[in-house]
Symmetry: C2
């Protein structure tokens, strides 16, 4: 019993120590074990890095990137711009050592040991990928005072909790050029993510050059596709960063683009198909009863698969409602002949045929969770995406898949296109308190954030992915008990602007949109509004998928806004503090916010309006008026009945969407009024 | 005489009409002829575009880009996202017609006729490139009021003054990835530039994949080079935009990178060479007496030339000081044997050998003006770059070349890396009042802005090129008498932020650098300082080329600053107005500026300092103190002698560079003091 208490005390002490370290060491993901010492490794122009390990192509690249970023952050003019071999006469100040080259498979060892003291940094890993993960930690440790930049003394032992920590980018709904992918790979690497899932085909476009079936990219991409050399380039770049690339060719549904090029493979005979310009679930589906479909997929996969060295190949398999199957006589006949009772059975038949093609190509099949039907071989990986929103129990299909014997990864809860708070994603714990055997546990490989691109373009996509995905990266790398929201948010602030270093445009492009919105007038008033508004959530911005086409404008107020609006949490805190204790300080903080919105309307009135800004007028006006009333109430000035009525009307108006956004401080304004009235 | 007066009156009236149109129509370059009418073509969701002309690959691309930009600017959800053929049942609202496909040669016709009235836009051109030039004008015309977006009624006949309107980008000193080049091509097209001169090799790197001599990119690029497919991609993209691509392989000097890979071709025998990390003029030079050099260049040019369909090939030829030639016995012997009296003669011998190789490849030679020696064939184009700074008369070698019978282009005066005001570049008139025969005149093809990249990275390069290059584009496209500086600056303000549409990062990346400088604290105080500071000019930032290496940090205060600092001209005007007339309004304007700098120091003191910000402390402090004294003087408060002495000391301190920048309002502060003391 004494022993138990001691352990509990140690755990508690450790939790406190971690929390206090988190306040100064803005690491994300948080390492498995970290001890701080009182030393510091000061950065000066003489810094050198040595590498000990064979074939250091990944580590060399990482060191060069490390040195550039170190120099750009600190302003220090380094004498040496590149790594040196370990056998140099003069010992390097940062010494990296590793044993093996990672194979980029799920069994890879990504652990590392990092020790920093006054004179030396030592980074030791089993693999080169472990070493580059450690280099990112080292750079995140960099800090400064007024006169110098330094790495605080630490000893870190680190390794990931899950082996699959992915980001999916949909490049079909809106094409994302090579540089967009590369900067996101850099950002992923900076938070130790290791899987890039590339959703390459869908109803809105087929994005791979095919030499076997050139009509695919010629007729079904609007000219926006990756050449095979570009795919090689991206795959190689990802490999340098220790990131696996999983391609997805979504079949048999989501097939409008494929069928635009090859309509003869469709389930509806003699139909013509067109690339979709809207969003949603559409009917065009490959014909699983047509042998030509399998010849086509065999040839296509045989061409495409070698571009992606990874063992896994994602075949999609989601959201096939089977309408064209139901309405087709020959498909009904085929089902009857083959004792395939339901469309699910027919799709399983299709998936099993695909699995054979992929096996031949030495690839394992991965698919969205609809593929988990009774006959599906256990070699497939189940990608769990559906949850409560799709009528499934909380937690979705992940645990079910693991219990049934499938390897599985989680995306339910990590749908970053739903425009929900980072806190929700951070709190999506894949396993939770569920009891699993160690075998079942080992089948849960990890998860992926999914960036569906119906409403994003290269201008805005980064702002939807980041910084939120860094919190998901921590959920998948760090231990389960690393879950303090406030400390996550604190660290995320630093990670957030550091992401700019990878070329991530989430902060800078906001002002680009605001300048365009205002025709280059003073943007401060609409920026203030954007800091309390968020884009409509959970797909309500594009209800039914028919409000926005792929070529609609995405340079609107909603595109400048983002989830976790800048002033939302601070104002909520200010209101809560004030409600608890209306001290002078707490009162002043609330009044400062309210005054900002009162004054903001004056600035807003000063800019010349255009049709894009007009919908914001009632927002700006009513927010200012409601704030005025609240200030009066706080100051205990007389507020007459008509003003109270007006306040309620203002709140009513403010509860409506403005330009596809919602005012996220509404409840806090109401709360203040309730307390004060 | 009456007739002359009438003509003079018409000209004068026209100048006035143009000036008044310039205030509302922010076109750049300004068209050859423009008449406005009182109609307006209103943009709504039904807008359609038709194309009449064969093989409309360029115009189709331009229309798609036009529709996206129109939609993104206006927020209008268009029903049709692409061009339609002219034979559609329903007449399109914007009708484009052209006769021929431009060949991308200097004889191409880029003229167009644009007519806009209430119901219709008509764009007619001789070539597809003329049509896409006209589309850019149409988009520049787009304007709005509170309730609608529209194109004002106009009739425009336009054609360029010069056929060669180029931008050179040096990708050797700092490599610029494909996306940097592409966004700059888009920006060039938006201001009707038509030549991209690609400086691909220099002492700091060889940036082309060579299959014949792979050591070139393997050993002499740090892994930063363009694959041949990427070169094809860029050349094709440029062609879509009506932009010719001229490659430059700089020889026989600037050859450190080539000789790093193939030292046996160097003039210094048994030497080893390394990629240069510094800037400047270096000694490594190809050996023009070695037949192997010509075999190498023949093979290399034979491999590289076909990647670039243009007729011209730039061989550099500049800044060969011949030191290694002078110190080589066998080269001296060769000169004697071949009656080559000087190194210039030897280089001419080399150039003529190169010209033969290029002729065989159906290419004409283009070189920097050092190649203009007596024996140089008249088929070469002389690229005039040297001027007063290099000890030549004003105007440099351009007129001399034209008179001697060479085609020629001007870059002297367009060296945008010298960090001089846009006004200076705008006022660089290639011909001026010099009398030329029409034949001589026709040999002056145009000019190129040159972006040497010693001090720029992908993060900052756009801010050095733009918006200034738009003014150079106007100098080269528009008539000579379009030269009103204030109206250019007025229009440039609009063009400036519109460049963001092409992905140009000049505005947004400034804040990225400031956030990094301040460790994500409030950037307003350093932004205020950056609005009155400019990077040190005319290469004094990197005196002798040895202060910055290629891998030095370029995320410093000087990198956030730019020429034509935002507050410089407005403050100068405010001071001049005040000096002329100390009216209440003029006084207030000056005091507002001074107060800003007084208050700014308080904000500056509030942010935590780091080693990058510390050098700005004396700048911030002394600017604030000097401003305080000036306010006192303006307010006729008592200013004691020590304060006057202190002011002079403050000015002394402020006249020194701070963090590689200079305070550009210094003279205006002094002027105020002179008037008030």
């Amino acid at each position: 019993m004494n022993k138990l208490i001691t352990i509990l005390c140690l755990v508690t002490l450790n939790v406190f120590a971690q929390a206090s370290l988190m306040e100064t060491h803005h690491l994300m993901p948080w390492p498995k074990s970290i001890q701080s010492n009182n030393q510091r490794f000061v950065i000066d122009e003489n810094l050198t890095v040595s590498i000990k390990g064979n074939n250091p192509y990944r580590v060399n690249h990482a060191v060069t990137s490390f040195l550039r970023r170190l120099s750009n952050r600190s302003g220090i003019f380094l004498n040496e711009g590149f790594a040196q071999p370990a056998n140099n006469k003069k010992q390097a100040s940062i010494q990296i050592k590793y044993n093996n080259i990672a194979k980029l498979i799920i069994q890879d060892d990504e652990s590392y040991q990092l020790d920093v003291n006054t004179n030396q940094v030592s980074l030791v890993a089993n693999t080169d990928v472990g070493a580059i993960r450690g280099l990112e930690t080292l750079l995140q440790l960099l800090t400064n005072n007024e006169s110098e930049y330094y790495i605080p003394g630490v000893s870190i032992s680190d390794a990931p909790r899950f082996v699959w920590r992915g980001l999916m980018i949909d490049v079909s709904r809106h094409f994302q050029p090579v540089n967009v992918i590369k900067r996101n790979l850099d950002a992923m690497a900076s938070v130790k993510m290791n899987v890039f899932h590339w959703h390459l085909t869908d109803d809105q476009g087929f994005r791979i050059e095919s030499k076997t079936y050139p009509k695919l990219h010629e007729l079904a991409s609007d000219g926006l596709y990756y050449t095979q050399e570009q795919i090689n380039d991206i795959v190689n770049y990802a490999s340098l960063l220790g990131i696996r690339v999983i391609p997805e060719l979504d079949v048999p549904g989501h097939a409008s683009a494929i069928l635009t090029a090859y309509p003869e493979l469709g389930s509806k005979q003699d139909a013509t198909y067109n690339i979709e310009r809207y969003s949603g679930v559409f009917d065009p589906t490959l014909d699983p009863t047509n042998e030509a479909t399998y010849v086509f997929l065999d040839n296509l996969f045989t061409e495409i698969a070698p571009l992606f060295p990874d063992n896994y190949f994602h075949i999609g398999g989601d959201e096939n409602e089977g309408k064209h199957w139901n309405s087709s006589e020959h498909i009904q006949k085929f089902k009857a002949e083959h004792q395939l009772a339901t469309n699910h059975d027919l799709q399983t038949y299709f998936n099993i045929r695909l699995e054979k093609i992929l096996n031949k190509l030495d690839k394992k099949l991965l698919g969205w969770d609809e593929i988990m039907t009774p006959d599906m071989p256990k070699t497939a990986i189940i990608h769990s995406w559906r949850g409560e929103h799709e009528g499934l129990p909380k937690g979705g299909t992940l645990i079910e898949a693991a219990k049934k014997g499938y390897n599985t990864i989680l995306s339910n809860g990590f749908y970053i296109d739903r425009m929900e708070s980072v806190v929700k994603h951070y709190q999506t714990e894949p396993i939770g308190d569920i009891q699993l055997t160690s075998e079942e546990r080992s089948r849960i490989l990890g998860g992926e954030a999914t960036m569906w691109s119906e409403l994003v373009t290269p201008l805005t996509i980064d702002s939807r992915i980041w910084p939120r995905t860094a919190a998901i990266a921590e959920r998948l790398w760090s231990e389960k008990d690393i879950n303090e929201v406030d400390l996550m948010l604190l660290r995320l602030e630093t990670i957030n602007y550091r992401l700019e270093e990878s070329g991530i445009t989430h902060i800078r492009n906001k002002t680009v949109i605001l300048r365009n919105l205002s025709n280059n007038q003073d943007i401060s008033s609409i920026e203030t509004l954007s800091n309390v508004c968020e884009p409509l959530k959970i797909y309500s911005r594009n209800e039914g998928g028919t409000e926005y086409k792929t070529f609609s404008p995405f340079t609107l107020f909603a595109d400048a806004c983002n989830v976790d609006a800048k002033d939302a949490i601070p104002f909520k805190k200010a209101v809560n503090n004030f409600v608890k204790n209306s001290s002078k300080e707490n009162t002043l903080t609330v009044i400062e916010f309210l005054n900002k919105w009162v004054n903001n309307h004056k600035s807003f009135q000063n800019i010349n309006k255009n049709p894009k800004l007009k919908p914001l007028e009632p927002l700006s006006y009513n927010l200012a008026e409601a704030s005025k009333t609240l200030i009066k109430l706080i100051n205990k000035e007389q507020v007459i009945k008509t003003e109270r009525t007006a306040f309620n009307q203002q709140i009513d108006i403010l509860s409506q969407p403005f330009a596809d956004t919602e005012l996220v401080i509404l409840r806090d304004l109401e709360k203040l009024f309730e307390v004060l009235k």
